[in-house]
Structures are given as structure tokens and as C-alpha cells.
Symmetry: C2
Subunit: 346 residues, 2 copies
Amino acid sequence: MTQRTTIADVAQAAAVHPSTVSRVLSGRPDASIRAQTRARVVAAAGRLAYRPSAIARSLRLRRTLTLGMLVPDIANPFFALIIKGAEAAARGRGYDLILCNTEDGREREATSIALLRDRQVDGVLIATARASDAMVADLRRDRFPFALLNRAAHGGRDLAVVVDNRRAAGRAIAHLRSLGHRRIAHIAGPRSTTTGAERADGARAAVRRTRCDADPALFVEAGAFSEAEGHRVARRLLLLDEPPTAIFGANDLITLGALRAARELELMVPRDLSLIGFNDIPLAELLEPALTTIRVPQLEMGATAARLLIDRLEGRHAGPARVVLPTELVVRSSTAAPAERVRRIA
Amino acid sequence: MTQRTTIADVAQAAAVHPSTVSRVLSGRPDASIRAQTRARVVAAAGRLAYRPSAIARSLRLRRTLTLGMLVPDIANPFFALIIKGAEAAARGRGYDLILCNTEDGREREATSIALLRDRQVDGVLIATARASDAMVADLRRDRFPFALLNRAAHGGRDLAVVVDNRRAAGRAIAHLRSLGHRRIAHIAGPRSTTTGAERADGARAAVRRTRCDADPALFVEAGAFSEAEGHRVARRLLLLDEPPTAIFGANDLITLGALRAARELELMVPRDLSLIGFNDIPLAELLEPALTTIRVPQLEMGATAARLLIDRLEGRHAGPARVVLPTELVVRSSTAAPAERVRRIA
DNA sequence: TTGTACGCGTTATCAA
DNA sequence: TTGATAACGCGTACAA
């Protein structure tokens, strides 16, 4: 690669001092520069296709105009949209995003954070529900700026963008109940995640409130928010002596797994089994049957978190530390009243 | 944020010169350092939790140990896996990855490349099929290292990892033909992409070779590799006076759209219509019916490209400039022999 | 309005 | 074996 053109090259070409070039190009409105000089510099910079080195600038300014982002799984469409939202908002404010996939692993999280800090990103967006509290505690202690995404803040002043998981889960159960279901199962996400725990709590409370069957066998926990785990656990549910007539999965992928399990057992959805997911990933409405689910504004979630963090970084009016985004129950064709046959059994 | 601890802090704590600290910690095996000194330095660094600044190091070394990556759509699961593969391979060699979503836009591509070059990434992985040749030409001219992913190289010496799209498309058509189909449609991707053009060419050749109906109305082009476009175009195909009995979509998303169109028109897949996709995204086997498709080794594609590029960066034995990865026809339940009814019509 | 001088945190080179 | 020095490219007090 040919040698980089530096500010000195431009200075020479414009017959001025490098510092003058810097002043001209950094575009501070208050800089007083003779119009003619400015023109010369701009022309020279254009001619040489000069681009300032982000590295040298970062070293000098001690900020990188870069945000880091921790995501458990880039291949999960839920996060894909969150990333897009965050990226768009960040770019809009002049920041770039460095993405780190943690594969939901403790170790990957630690190395990713280390990497981001080595690169001196100005702050991190943390979208990993499983992120160890130790890690978050470290960041807090070091006053390293961060924002939590789709997971609860433990400390009160942490920046966080979330949805009301308990309430949304309650609505899912209530919807099934209103269709006539009584034996409603919930496949929870890992209790180690705040989303998993909160949705399970909300579902449990709603089951009690609406007087569904309160059979503990109907509340099970998946090992991960994945299709495979959903499939495994749903199979067990459906092979129960008294199987549920409806399943509320802690996210769309888990529910997708439940759909596959139902098919393997030759159950028709929604005739023999109603299904509700959570997140409304793009795929949800393409399925057959289309998935009834809780819509989470994914793009907005990413964008809000990025903006919140940048506001804090730039010392702008901080606003509330915690933003709760609205959710919406999207009813599609995977839910219906329980079939007669099943109702008789119950 | 508390002040960063620098190499000078460690030097002071260990009572040595900063350059000594650098020597110890950069871990060159040939450095001759007294064991006792080394121990002191290591201890001090540990005590202070010292981490070298990647920025300062990059400035000095003129390399960042970072690769850039251009992707048209992070939310497309095909690319998600490619990214994972590339990231894993890069990390394995000590490189990080900065991802840029171009949303398939010329402008986004240009700004992304500019951004990556400003940050002085050591090289770029380009997975955008639509990437303007002008951009690639610029990179070539500036001798900026890059590798092309899933798109053909125009110049011969460019690094590229691809599959044989023509051959794979031919196999898809042949499979349908062997099932008894004669009226086979192809929904091509944009001709502006090499993948779109090559698959269309391969399909067309195979249609001729296997003596299918060579009706030009059966070869149509989608405006994008998306579900929405697939749906739109497939609808038109299925409303033809003589509709096809099988559709080969240029990728899985397009084919997914065709599936939705078929359902809207109350066609049963595969009874009334057979469907083949391309890429084998994770979703393909979860669908009902599961999608017959061409498997592209996505993880391997990303990993190979990253390794190729890094090898070249490090001046290691370059190996071939162009790697062709194998594909495989995965037959699932979305293809079957054409139904009697339909065959009679034909 | 512009130039001078210095420092951001490293590492390579040379001298001791 | 270790220390001193310079340089990577930029931005900014301060001086002129």
C-alpha cells in the first residue's frame, strides 16, 4: 500500500504550517482563518485526497468516536435488528460501532470487553442478557460508560433500555385464557437471564390471576433461547399425560422449536395447540401458521440505547437513566380456542 | 473514567525504563532480559492491571491487527454465518473485525470503506455482491488489501472465495427435471450481482440442456435478494396462464417469498408447486415444508476469506488467489414430482 | 491570522 | 541486558 498522505503533505502543498491545516479541516466555526488560506488548504487536501488518521486523532483527543456493542448471537434475528437500530443512531451522531459476538459465553464476554477497552471505545452497549454481573460491576467501578439493552439494570443509575417483560408475559397468558385455554404451559428462558426470569414471573402471576391450571409441570425452563432447546423442552411438555393446550415460549425461537415438536407429534397448530412467542422477529409472520407474539420495537431499542449512551458521553442533558419501551401483543394464526376434543379431556 | 494506566506507570512501579517494559510485555522470544527484571515488570503490570493501548500501538506499528468487513445486510442469516466464520478465523490469528452494514447501497459502501480506511484496518473482506466495481478498482489501484466473498473477482489476482454458482444452479434444475417437471421457473437475483447473474445463467443452460419448456416468461428477475421481492415476482409467475410446476429461487429468501405467494393462492407445496432455494440458511430446514436448497458452506466461506487475506497481509505463502468452495444439493420436502392434475394440463 | 512546541502511548534503534 | 531517544500523525496552548 502506498504511503499515507498526512497532514504534513497537505501543509506543504498549501504552503502553510500543519497546524493551520488542522485548524482549517477540523472545521471549528470559531477558528479565524483567512478565506484565501482556507481555500488553499481545502484545495490541497482535495487534490491529495487527504483523510485524517482516525488513529492519530484518537490518540491525541483521547476519544475514538466509537462505541462497542456486546451481542450474544449475531445470527439471532432479534439482535440483528437491534444492532441495525443502534448502528444507525450511532452513525447519525458521528459514532461508529464495533460489534462483538459473545456466543453467550462468559469468557467471550470478558475478552470482548477487554478488547473494546484496549481500543478505547468511548462506551459499550451491552445486549447480552447473561452478561455476568461481575463484568457490569467492573465497568461501574471504573466509571466506564455503558448502557444495558433488553436487560434490567441492577444499580439504579445505570443506563438501560428495556420492555416490561412481566406485563407483556401477563398479556400473553391473558390472551390464551380469553380464548378458553386453561392448561397453559410456559417454556422459560434461562433463569440466569433477566428476560428469562421476568417473563416467567409474569406468566406465573397471570396464570394464578386468571385461574388457569396451576400445574408446576407446565412451567419448564429451556437451557437457552434457541430453537433446539425449545424443541427439546416442548416435546416433554406435549408428552405429558395431561398435555397443555397452549404454550407460551419465552422467545420466538423457543416457540419455533415448540412448533416443530408439535408437528412431529402430528398436532395441528392452532387446532390442537396454540402457540405464542416473544419478540416478533421478522420470521414470525412468515411462518405457517404465522406466530402470535409480543412485538418488541427492536430497531427503536437499539437506537434508544445508542442515543442514551452518547448523550451521557457528551455530557448532554442526561434524561432518565432507564427507558421502558412499549410492547404489543400481535395476534396471528398460531392461537385459537382449544379444540372440542381437547376441551372435553380437560 | 479514571485515568488510564500507561506503560510509564508500570515502568515506574517496576523501577525500570518504559522501553524495558515494552520489551518484556511484547513477548518477543528473542529479547534478552534478566529473569528478575522480567518478573518485576510482569508483577507490576499485573498489579496495575496494565493493558497496552491498541491505539498508540497501531500508530507506532502502522498496523491495527484489524480487518474490516462489508456486508449488505446483517439481518440476512446467510451473512450472519459468514460473519461468524470470518470473525472466528480472524480472532484465531489475532485479528479483530469491524463490521459495516451497507444496506446494499452504493453510498453506504463508499462511506464504509472510507471509514475503514480512516481507521487503517489492515484489510477488508467484501461480501457485498453489488459492491461497485469502481470501489474495488480503487482498492486495487491503492494496493489496499482485500478479499472478495461470494462474488466473482474481475481481475485475476484478486483474493476471492466463491462457489460454482452455474453448476449448482444446474443441479437444482436437473433435480426438478428428474422429478418430472418441465415447466420450471427461475426467479433470478439482480443481474447487477455476480451471484444473481451466474445462477440465472446456470439455470438457463440447464433448462436448455434438459429440454424443459424454454418459455422466457418463466425467467424473471427480482429487484433484491429479499422475501418481499420473491413474493412479488412469484405471484406474477403463479398467475400466468400456464404457471410453472416448480420454481427455483436465486436464494432462500426469494424462495421463501415464493412459498408465501403459493400459500396465498392456495397451492400446496410440494403437491402443486415444487420449490428450491439457494444457500441453506438455518431457517430452511425449520420451514414446513422444509426447503430443498443448495448448501453453501457459510462458516467456511467466511473463515477461508479471512485466512486468505491474513496470509497475504503477513506475506505468508499466498496460495491460490481464488478458492472455490463445494456446494451440495440438500433435498427436503419442498420438492416432489408434479401432481397428476398439473401434469395433465401440461 | 499563523507558526512553534509539545504530548497523546507505543515500539524500534542505537548507545551504554 | 538495559536506558535514552525518536517517531508514528494529529490537535492545541501559547507565542508571534
